[in-house]
């Protein structure tokens, strides 16, 4: 269990870091360091987190970091881990990639690393658009959301990355949210103890890109979970488990109506009084939970295919 007052009381986001007010990525980075301590090395592809570090030669993020080209994070991390292994060092190599660097341009290198079951932690920091280049649509932008390349709202649903990673049958896949730091920290600590490929998908509401007040990052993040839009779960050694904060939302009647989530974000403004549009989003939520139900029921508490091979 994660106990707040036992977490390290050190400063990880340093003065001079360049994040926007209310930035979920800098929150996430702080939790990451609290969870993993001084043994972790970060691999960061192009994205907001390349900028948040601030201006070199110093760094506003207290981590050793290998910045890398947009498409290459999964690969660079694989190489780093191999190098540490041949030198007999048990450092934790963590990819910290945006939704673009994970689900779009970085997908090939990610899938390759997962298939090889590289002993790394891959974190997708999902702010649901290419934020660093100014809020363009990504494969993880949800249906209906305004971005600077979808002026009338995105016409496709979000691609379900955690399920795609579950299909890779790696030892550990989890979702998390910056609105639930204990849950995220616990998952990170668990991941650090598992050998093989670990994927954590961190939901990261972004005040600038989603058009909400910068004081509301945590609230929006929690609403995503409470409306059932963003279920928190773990897939560990072949078995699927809803995380405590999401358990009760399996029952649709317990969920906060999705309109509560949509209406505090400017990016959905244009569809608020279009019931047929809201219905599409509700159907998406139903569909997500249908998958979850399926996974829960078909759970096989054996090992994953990849772990069986490692025996």
């Amino acid at each position: 269990m994660v106990i707040i007052h036992k977490l390290p009381n050190r400063r990880y986001g340093m003065p001079g870091n360049a994040s926007c007010p209310g930035c979920p990525e800098s929150m996430g980075l702080r939790y990451l360091k609290m969870a993993l301590g001084d043994k972790a090395v970060l691999v960061i592809p192009a994205g907001c987190s390349s900028v948040i570090q601030g201006i070199g030669p110093k760094s506003g993020i207290n981590f050793p970091i290998l910045n890398i080209a947009f498409a290459a994070a999964g690969a660079a991390a694989s190489g780093m881990k191999a190098a540490f292994e041949v030198q007999g060092k048990d450092y934790i190599v963590v990819v910290w990639a945006g939704d673009g660097g994970t689900a779009d341009i970085g997908f090939q290198a990610l899938s390759g690393a997962a298939e090889r079951n590289e002993d790394i932690i891959y974190i997708c920091v999902d702010n649901e658009a290419y934020m660093n280049t100014g809020i363009q649509r990504s494969g993880l932008t949800p249906y209906g959301a305004w971005t600077t390349t979808t002026w009338t709202g995105k016409k496709e649903h979000k691609k379900n990355m955690p399920f795609i990673l579950i299909a890779h049958d790696v030892p550990y896949v989890a979702t998390a949210s910056v609105g639930y730091p204990h849950d995220f920290i616990e998952k990170l600590r668990k991941a650090a103890k598992i050998k093989g490929f670990k994927y954590i998908h961190l939901h990261a509401p972004d005040p600038v890109g989603w058009r909400f007040d910068s004081s509301l990052t945590v609230k929006v993040a929690q609403l995503a979970v409470q409306t059932g839009m963003w279920p928190l779960f773990e897939y560990e050694r072949g078995s699927f488990k809803l995380s405590p904060f999401s358990k009760k939302y399996k029952d649709p009647s317990k969920r906060v109506p999705v309109i509560e989530y949509l209406k505090i974000q400017g990016r959905f403004k244009h569809l608020l009084n279009k019931p047929e549009e809201i219905k599409k989003i509700e159907e998406y939520i139903e569909r997500t939970w249908w998958w979850i139900d399926l996974l829960e029921r078909s759970t096989n508490p054996a090992k994953t295919a990849r772990e069986l091979l490692n025996k």
Binding site: Q53, G56, P64, L66, Q87, Q108, G112
Partner: protein
Amino acid sequence: MTILTLTGNYAVAYAVKLARVKVVSAYPITPQTTIVEKLAEMIERGEMDAKMIRVESEHSALATVYGAASAGARAFTATASHGLLYMHEMVWWVAGARMPLVMAVVSRAIGPPWNIHVDHQDIFDQRDSGWIISMAQENQEAFDLTLQAFRISEDPRVYLPMMVGLEAFILSHTVAPVDVPDQKEVDEWLPPRRQPYVISPETNFVMGNIVPDEDYMMMRLSIQKAMEAAKEVIKEVDRSYGKKFGREYGGLVECKKCEDADYIIIIAGSWSGEAKMAIEDLREEGYRVGVARIRFIRPWPEEEISELASKVKGIIVFDRAVSFGSKGPLFLDVATTVNGRTSLRGVIAGLGGTEVRKEHIIEVTKEFINKVEEEGRVFEPEYWLLPDPYRGKPLEEVAPRWW
């Protein structure tokens, strides 16, 4: 030391093993594949103590060895043609990060249309990226350059990545005797890995975040300075390798019969062999020609070529690549160095594996020399040596179907 009969690709693989590389990563492409197949075999048999990461693309291959090198391991990859172009972004990344590592490039034509034969276009496409780029003439040299590449790249005066160029099939898949030293001899000659920084929890180092534009520009200048310093390091390494293993090549340029030459052929890669044979015949006919074989495209051997330019009546450059809309890339460098001091002809030949024999080289060289002797100063920056079936016919007759 042992004499083995090896293809160029196997020669490279043996050198990589002897260099005690710790991380190998690559993606298959003809004609590079047998390098990594051999390395995989050596690693799986336990003859080589390294990790092999079989990635899903070339972009990832170079990113993987870059990650490994940044974390402190000696690392190697190899590619060719489309693979090299596919990793182009990472090529720049590695040099910008000043990360020493070694990559073999088995140079091959670029599609479309698909073509797996020799051509230097792929390697010239990397010319400006900040890598040290060498070109071997034969298998032994491919072996020697691979071993030397680690020492050059990891020299603190340099700290730049290095490409070892060898040519599709002519070297990569053709066997020749290669003198392979013992591990002990190599260990005595090649120091343990050195690198400018390591990224790990011990160093808390960050590489690649944004810097002020002015600092960025100064970092670019530092790459240029490192290239300059690399010239001396390359020569030193060549000499010390010669002392240890008995083969010295002359540094950045290997000159054959340049001392008394009136004319010079400038050429790089395996077809330099044909050029060397050509000058023997030319000399018998009274043409005093020498060959300056470019061993390093980068850093560019400015001083060596400049010295030749002030001594001779003319230079003829053979390019196996084109900068479309301009001239052959080797020619462009030569012309800049020559700066109008002597007659020049830039020959573009042998693209996509088109055969170039000794006779072809004799023919265009002789024609150039005769022209210079008759007309005085000649400047012909672009001379296409057309393939045999098309040569000697008026262009309008043979070419229209191509445009």
